[in-house]
Amino acid sequence: MKFTREFKGRGGAGRDPKLPPGQYDIGSDWPVLSAEATPDLATAEWTFAIEGLVRNPLTWTWDEIQALEPATYEGDIHCVTTWSKLGVSFGGVSVDTLLAVAVPLPSASHVVAYSHTGYTTNLPLGDITGNKAWVVWEYDGRPLEVAHGGPARLLVPHLYFWKSAKWVAGLRLLDHDEPGFWEVNGYHDRGDPWLEQRYQGD
């Protein structure tokens, strides 16, 4: 390891073990990072679909998804640009609840999450099942702001946050991995912050 002359940083014993390598605690800030214009998306127009390799392809409206069993996530989120936000809380519905109705076919191994803006990101199916992923519309007890993906976004907090597609419109189940927007632009296909999987080849 190469040390940087005179760099002390904020490290040492005070470093929070909840921070993955190379990440820092951003505190109460929540930077907005997106590569597109922020859409103007009313809840009345918002829908969420599950399609591809499932027994029952389905589309939920805003009211229909709100009526499902609520679920919350309390924990941390990690952005590939090196900030982490600790102790956040989101409310919505578990992806498990949605997949229980859609029923993945045995051949399904991956998903592409896609947004109302056209944004896409790819995930192994195993990373969004087993209480690891949510569709969320509340942050800290309030409606999720549009800049942060409102009315609703995907939340996959154990992976870098670009996997948590803003303005999410659905999941397409596939029998192969299909790189999404950032992934074809050099970012990692899985994006585990604890393994520092930031870029292709990491």
Partner: protein, 235 residues
Amino acid sequence: MDLPTPGPWQVATVEEVSKETQRAKTFRLRLSTPSRHLAGQHYVVRLTAEDGYTASRSYSIASPPDDSGEIEITVERLEHGEVSSYLHEVVVPGDELEVRGPIGGWFVWRGDTPALLVAGGSGLVPLMSMLRLARRSGRSELVHLVVSVRSPCELYYANELPGREATVVFTREAPPACDRPPGRLGEDDLRRALLPDAIAYVCGSSGFADHVTSLLARLGFPDERIRVERFGPSG
């Protein structure tokens, strides 16, 4: 797509440090493993303390793609920014830094298509790489840059701006020779810069990016031809 992908971490030697503004410095780095970048890409700089603690931040490349084996990054000093403070206070020519790049395949301009470049403050850095590429390759007719800054003393690369294909909009305080009174970037400022079939590259704070994309929408510019890079706090 022919996209340069980031190699492993490498050591770069600081060749030159120059002051852009009160709060920004440009660092010229000689790469030990040179790689030609695309205009708009960035590098990550990683600092490592003796106890193993690391801090890394991304910085856009200001210099145009070339074969010099060197890149320039411009770093704004942020209050409480542990990396930017270190770079501003400690780093001198001859120092070595760990860097990784070039990174990014979306917010890039390859130098052969019409481009509208709209920058807010420090968001000018990646767009300057594009403008410099256009000028250096004799393709200035392909680009128009509009940069919005509060006052003349906050303008980066002031000896290269404005120009035939570059407009500076001052929002709070304008130089005496400037016809336009100080004020927020508006539709008129962008209308003059529109080129047929251009892709718009918008870079600045999130608030600035939203303001520009809504101005562009009002001018009838299609959303799908807008690429945005939002500069978050990246101290």
